[in-house]
């Protein structure tokens, strides 16, 4: 029964096909320059992926994204866990996080570039900022929900506070932490693309707008498709990893939302 219900990937593939079909039909009906048919845009995808310069740009973007994402998690999970276990740590960070929450992180790019220059450091820092907030939030929620009795037993057996945090709170909060990481991953991609669109120097976002300026509309749409596929693939890959790591926890249908 379960097997039939989860013919993996079939409904999303159908959904993609439907979207492409609607796009193709709409483009042919409207017949405007700004909306080339799906087939024309897709035909450009191999050309982009075959161009070494574009590929290097995309790889550089992804490398920055990965570094920012990993650093963000490394910083956010300990903070979130400590917030969840100590009322004082939570009181310390909560107002600050509330103030940072509505700040558009990618919009910090021009200011950060004044300080750190136009290199990788600024771009990675912005991605780092985009990732940390949801991961802190979910780690916090996960750590708060840890069964008190487990902690009491561990303490009674002589486990120190740090060991309790690493060996009990961390695994117990892992499902929730991974939900945060999933949101963080999508946000890392969004922040990366957005900050590159704003600074217009290198990377995926830059290719997108350069081809817009040069009126290569097929390439614009091909890049949109590539970014879209990237987002979906990263999310699906992370979801697969999550269900392997914490298959014992109830599958979560957390909202994958947020933007920077």
């Amino acid at each position: 029964m379960e097997r039939i219900a989860s013919v993996p990937g079939l409904p999303p593939i159908l959904a993609c096909a439907a979207l492409l079909a609607i796009w193709e039909i709409a483009a042919r009906l409207l017949a405007i320059d700004g909306l080339p048919p799906a087939s024309a845009a897709l035909a450009q995808v191999p050309a982009i992926l075959g161009d070494p310069e574009a590929l290097l740009n995309i790889a550089a973007s992804l490398r920055r994204m990965a570094i920012g994402f990993v650093l963000g998690i490394a910083a956010a999970v300990p903070i979130g866990l400590m917030m969840g276990r100590s009322q004082y740590v939570a009181a310390f960070f909560n107002p600050l996080l509330m103030i940072i929450y509505p700040v558009p992180k990618a919009a910090l790019m021009p200011i950060i570039m004044l300080w750190l220059g136009v290199g990788d450091a600024s771009k990675t820092l912005v991605i780092f900022l985009g990732v940390t907030l949801p991961v802190i939030y979910h780690s916090y929620q996960g750590a708060r929900a840890v069964e008190e009795r487990m902690l009491w037993s561990a303490a009674a057996m002589g486990m120190g506070p740090l060991a309790r945090l690493v060996r009990i709170v961390l695994p117990a909060a892992l499902p929730e932490i991974l939900v945060g990481c999933r949101t963080g991953l999508v946000l890392a991609l969004i922040t990366m693309v957005t900050s590159e669109m704003i600074t217009r120097q290198t990377g995926i976002g830059n290719i997108l707008f350069n081809s817009l300026d040069m009126a290569q509309y097929d390439t614009v749409y091909a890049m949109i498709v590539i970014i879209g596929v990237l987002g979906f693939a990263l999310d699906a890959a992370f979801e697969a990893l999550r269900s392997r790591l914490v298959g014992w926890a109830a599958p979560s249908h957390a909202l994958v939302v947020g933007t920077t």
Partner: protein
């Protein structure tokens, strides 16, 4: 928490914020960073107050707010309608669910060039981007909320002769209000951020444009001011919406 405990934790919360402003002030005062790179906080806040009194600046704020609220309103209508429809009909759910699964993790900002090409450089493309970003949290929250409504409520209404559609709108949707409003609150802050970013990428007016304009002429103080304004707006909208939510949900049991 007791009253003294609450005020104590409020005090603790002020520490990091005061620390950041203190370090900012110290760096600016020490001359380590020239004012062109890091203006002192007093200069930034003075400029903020001055700008908030200037009609030209408020015009930009109004432009941004117009795009924000129009986009958010359209997103709310679309999100709630599709969310309720997906709960009410299996066929709709079967279509919507895979579409959402595919589209939700896609960075909507990547669609912005497509919106520019099809809708032009003016308001429409920015509003469309806000709709694209804000509709998903509302849709998902509405769908989750309405799916979780106690079935007995709907059954009683149906048994009393309510039509399926009326039952969805008058019984299920109000019962799911807490979840719907949570989705709306998230979407509101997202709208705020997205409209600002869209204005930064291409625009001739609005708060985001002011930041970019200031950065092109290296007016550092004026770069901070729009950023602080949009963050304050996000904060205020969040707090305001929370207050509205508390009023609307006066009769509902406390949510965790």
């Amino acid at each position: 928490m007791t009253r003294s405990g609450r005020s104590a934790s409020a005090l603790i919360g002020v520490i990091p914020i005061a620390l950041i402003i203190g370090i900012w002030q110290a760096i600016a005062a020490s001359g380590l960073a020239p004012p062109s790179i890091l203006p002192p906080p007093a200069a930034v806040f003075a400029r903020l107050v001055q700008q908030l009194g200037s009609p030209a600046y408020l015009d930009h704020v109004a432009t941004t707010l117009f795009r924000l609220f129009t986009g958010f309103a359209i997103a709310a209508v679309i999100g709630v309608t599709i969310g309720v429809a997906a709960t009410g009909s299996r066929a709709v759910e079967a279509i919507v669910q895979p579409l959402v699964r595919v589209l939700a993790p896609v960075p909507k900002i990547a669609l912005y060039p497509a919106f520019i090409l099809t809708l032009g450089f003016e308001n429409a493309s920015k509003i469309a981007l806000v709709v694209a970003d804000a509709a998903f949290p509302i849709l998902l929250a509405t769908h989750q909320g309405t799916s979780a409504v106690e079935p007995k409520l709907a059954w009683s209404a149906r048994a009393a002769g309510t039509s399926p559609l009326a039952c969805l709108v008058t019984v299920v949707l109000p019962a799911a209000l807490p979840s719907v409003l949570t989705g709306c609150r998230i979407a509101l802050v997202i709208s705020c951020i997205v409209v600002f970013l869209a204005e930064m990428i291409t625009s001739t007016d609005g708060l985001g444009h002011l930041l970019v304009r200031a950065s092109r002429s290296f007016q550092t103080v004026d770069m901070f001011v729009p950023l602080i304004t949009i963050s304050l707006l996000g904060l205020l909208l969040n707090v305001g919406f929370n207050a509205l939510r508390a009023r609307l949900l006066a009769g509902f049991p406390e949510e965790p």
